[in-house]
Symmetry: C2
Subunit: 147 residues, 2 copies
DNA sequence: AATCCTTTAATAACTATTATCATCTGATAA
DNA sequence: TTATCAGATGATAATAGTTATTAAAGGATT
């Protein structure tokens, strides 16, 4: 692991009161040291090369911990449940990052997305999907109440 | 089921060479007759009120069939696998609807999204996520080869 | 080095989804 | 209308993905 990455890792662990374990170090490195959008399984396979006895559950737990701490992001808030949309009109989605609720957002609520550069060659565009992530009214209310 | 919805359903089934079964009719209706972004389980519970002996597997199979035919859409192309992103720079994603691969797309490749109207009251915005759905180079090549 | 609290590995449990297969049914043509 | 049959269904087994449990081990602090 690069010295710079290692220092950043220690700093982040301290900031979030997390013990800087070997496992966490390797998991973090597996994600940060190469571009990509990996699944827990892929991270597990990668880390196992250095720490053969690591458990898949440890990978899951720490990925959750890191995401919760804001050190990493989820690609999609919808993994884990298949959701179907019958609305054929062009529209966007409001997604609550707490309760995962999905609400339609009128097409005209946002200005159009404009292509500036070129897409990578060979990619055949089908459509733009815009998700607005945030915290819904109900979840905001619930959080406020607790404090 | 409204006459109009029923006719549309028959038309779509004919167009896609699908038998217009009771089960399909009720599944279609459960989605089209009320706004929402339902899971297979939720559709199952709804349809079961009319067809108590319907199987959950039938719901899954037909939702897939309908999505494949373009009669319904998936809310997210990422269901089923949790993917982690370590890239903290603002950026977008290219997602292949065939192989589900995810590629970063530079922030400047798209113009900024502008808020026009108001978001629904109480929704606390965190960030915009733009996914560009399409077919990647490899999948396009693979499809071309087959014909 | 001793202590304490956190983290880990192993694995059981659980949830979501898909596969299998015998039976049944909608569509078509006689 | 009835016969036919490819395609659809229901029951359930199997698989994939994720989370919970718990005894043992390891960082952090002193
Ligand atoms: Mn929608
Ligand atoms: Mn990315
Ligand atoms: Zn919410
Ligand atoms: Zn592809």
């Amino acid at each position: 692991m690069r010295r710079e990455t290692y220092n950043e890792f220690r700093r982040l662990c301290q900031k979030h009161s997390l013990a800087a374990t070997h496992q966490r170090q390797k998991i973090y490195e597996a994600l940060v040291s190469r571009p990509g959008h990996y699944s827990p399984e892929e991270i597990y396979e990668q880390v196992k090369q250095d720490l053969p006895s690591i458990s898949l559950a440890t990978v899951y737990k720490n990925l959750k911990t890191f995401v919760h701490a804001g050190m990493l992001c989820e690609v999609s808030p919808h993994h884990g449940s298949w959701r179907i949309d019958a609305n054929h009109h062009p529209h966007h989605h409001l997604v609550c990052t707490r309760c995962r609720s999905i609400t339609d957002l009128d097409f005209d609520s946002l200005g159009p997305v404009k292509l500036r550069g070129k897409l990578p060659s060979g990619f055949r565009l089908e459509k733009f999907t815009i998700e607005v992530r945030g915290v819904c009214k109900a979840c905001t209310a619930a959080e406020t109440k607790q404090h």
